[in-house]
């Protein structure tokens, strides 16, 4: 019954008025950025990171997490009403969601997306509660060699799951690793690659890089193409799905939750991939697969549940191993470190109030999202109608001030703009930013683990292959690197890449 006591502790923390407020702010902002095109959860979290410095760590993490899963909710709204996914994870929702809206069933689509997300969110929180403490227990046995291999595995999985070519994604990971190593070397106090720029001494700031890559570059791409957004003019009525809708959706929701949760644990675009997998699965299992794409409710219920469940699963590697699974989790890792907490197997033991408080706040946040998204849908539709030429100066302004207020340093604005340019060209030439950010965060941790391992082994790299866990992980890394070269895997990957595009 230990878990019950823990959950009680969690609710005690999450139900404090201040934390309720920050949870609400988080899901509100999350829904907002989910609805707005060109501003995703990663950029929003980095934007708000500086404002959380004077909050209690628990409140800050509750708010930042809220942004993440809130954005998953909001993203579906734009997919259904405008056929533009607010988030990558809602791309598939467009297929049937928009068609439902055109048939005058926008209400039911929005409703099932919200309820599905709620159910999936709840299920994945249960999974998180059960699995995370167990995994943390196991992770306590890991030493530096295991950690090094696990981080390497994380990076390789991210690039393996990347939509575009694996060598290109790995290239980005290698560059990110390098960026993470810029700054003072901890062991010898040598400044590396700082070029006498003082603000690089502490390393390249995560916030300016992320804002540049995910915020500024996105705006640049949007201003060059004239996007016309037409909100589907329809009276949204009947948000409550009827009995038949429920009958059609309940199993897709449950299946989507399970698939999403486990794919979410894997590093990489868990939410995105799980939504695709869920859609494919429902189509395969359906008695009328030919109707998919014409507005069937299963095509909305499954993927929307899957991406929300994945958002929950993604917390597991961070909370148990201290290894972030995606760019959003990398932001959270950065935040936790700033508050002086070391994510990893000890986190749950040392800061039970943080872990259980955040987990239960997600439960409360899910209820808030239901209220925010269903009765208040009209407000979000209004926001959708704000033309982009009015919106983008505000987005840029917030990026500029957000980065500046971090350390009152103009140099960091420069850094953000630089990475804004880099990100713009990366998108043009089809390079992914996620492996870069992840590798950048992991860089210093990997360097430490590598050095400690080599010192432990007196300089013999054999240490990675003589300890059973690290050997198994290292083998997995090799397999994943070789796998894409096999013809049939290559073909499969190309098909997936096509679907993603």
């Amino acid at each position: 019954m230990e878990i019950l006591a823990n959950v009680m502790l969690g609710f005690e923390v999450a139900l404090q008025p201040a934390n309720l407020f920050f949870c609400f702010m988080g899901v509100l902002i999350g829904t907002l950025v989910g609805v707005l095109p060109g501003l995703g959860p990663v950029a929003a979290m980095s934007l708000l990171l500086p404002t959380t410095f004077h909050l209690a760590p628990v409140s800050a993490v509750i708010m930042l997490s809220g942004i993440y899963y809130g954005a998953m909710y909001g993203g579906s709204t734009t997919s259904i009403l405008v056929n533009i996914p607010g988030e990558a994870a809602s791309v598939v929702t467009c297929l049937d969601g928009y068609q439902m809206a055109r048939k005058g069933r926008a209400g039911a689509a929005l409703g099932i997306a919200a309820f599905g997300s709620f159910i999936a969110g709840t299920l994945s929180i249960l999974g998180l509660m059960l699995l995370a403490p167990l995994l943390a227990e196991v992770a306590l046995k890991f030493g530096p060699p295991e950690y090094f291999c696990l981080m390497l595995l994380g990076l390789v999985i991210v690039t393996f799951l990347a939509g575009s070519s694996m060598p290109k994604a790995l290239l980005m990971a290698a560059f990110g690793l390098f960026l993470g190593l810029i700054g003072m070397d901890i062991m010898t106090a040598t400044p590396r690659f700082t070029f006498d720029m003082y603000f690089l001494m502490d390393g390249v700031g995560l916030v300016p890089v992320v804002m540049g890559l995910f915020g500024v570059s996105e705006v640049l791409l949007n201003v060059e193409s004239k996007i016309k957004r037409e909100v589907f003019e329809t009276k949204i009525k009947g948000l409550l799905p009827n009995r038949r809708d429920w009958g059609d959706s309940i199993w897709p929701i449950i299946r989507g939750s399970v698939v999403g949760f486990f794919l979410g644990i894997l590093p990489g675009g868990g939410a995105v991939i799980s939504s695709f997998v869920s859609y494919g699965m429902e189509k395969k299992l359906s008695r009328h697969p030919e109707k998919f794409g014409t507005g069937v409710i299963e095509g909305v219920a499954g993927p929307e549940s899957a991406n929300n469940a994945a958002a929950g699963g993604a917390f597991i590697p961070l909370m148990t191993l201290g290894i972030p699974a995606n760019a959003v989790m990398a932001m959270l890792l950065g935040a936790l470190t700033i508050y002086g907490m070391q994510p990893g197997p000890m986190l749950i033991k040392q800061h039970p109030d943080l872990f259980w408080g955040v987990v239960t706040s997600m439960y409360i946040g899910n209820i808030m999202l239901l209220v925010l998204n269903l009765p208040l849908i009209g407000i979000w539709v209004k926001i959708l109608k704000i033309p982009y030429e009015v919106l983008f100066p505000l987005i840029l302004l917030f990026c500029l001030i957000g980065v500046f207020s971090l350390n009152n340093n103009v140099g960091e604005i420069g850094l953000m703009l630089f990475f804004g340019g880099v990100g713009y060209f990366m998108k043009k030439f089809n390079y992914e930013a996620a492996p870069l950010v992840l590798a950048m965060v992991l860089g210093p941790m990997m360097e430490n683990a590598l050095r400690q391992s080599l010192i432990m082994a007196n300089g013999s790299a054999a240490i990675f292959f003589t300890r059973p866990i690290s050997l198994a992980v290292a083998l997995l890394v090799l397999i994943l690197l070789v796998l894409p070269m096999l013809p049939w895997v290559k073909k499969k990957r190309e098909v997936i890449a096509e679907i993603v595009e």
Binding site: K168, L170, F175, S405, G420, F429
Partner: protein
């Protein structure tokens, strides 16, 4: 040069090579005690290797395209103007101060995509400036630079 993957791989090749060369300057150390340049060297070397893989892979691919095709049907001058205005904003932030600098920037950005009427631009720019000032300076106490206006 066949396509843009090949072109971009050359860029990363150069970056990777420079990292490799620079990091040896910081000391690679030995395997038993890796120096500050060790992992940067490895990451640079990995970049070189991967860039070469991308480069040679493209010879067996069918895709042929030009640099120009990436900017076809786009309003790239707008991108340049937006980027330039942001750089100016950063450079002038300390001298002009937050209020003035921000007002000028938002007014410019509001005009750059669609020429909104001046009335709307002025209203929007003052609203955005004062609003962000209220949030960041007054509420979050971010200490934005005062500049020539003195507050």
């Amino acid at each position: 040069m066949k396509n843009n993957d090949q072109r971009s791989s050359l860029f990363w090749l150069v970056i990777g090579l420079s990292i490799v060369l620079y990091s040896s300057k910081y000391g690679l150390g030995t395997f038993s005690s890796p120096g500050p340049g060790f992992l940067p060297f490895m990451s640079g070397a990995a970049m070189v290797l991967l860039a070469l893989i991308v480069f040679f892979q493209q010879f067996s691919r069918g895709r042929v395209d030009t640099l120009k095709s990436l900017w076809a049907h786009t309003r790239w001058p707008t991108v340049l103007m937006v980027m330039a205005s942001l750089v100016f904003y950063a450079v002038l932030l300390r001298t002009l101060g937050f209020l003035l600098d921000t007002f000028v920037l938002t007014a410019f950005l509001l005009r750059v995509m669609e020429p909104l009427s001046w009335k709307k631009v002025l209203a929007g720019a003052s609203g955005a400036t004062l609003g962000s000032y209220a949030i960041f300076e007054l509420w979050l106490e971010a200490q934005l630079p005062a500049g020539v206006l003195g507050f």
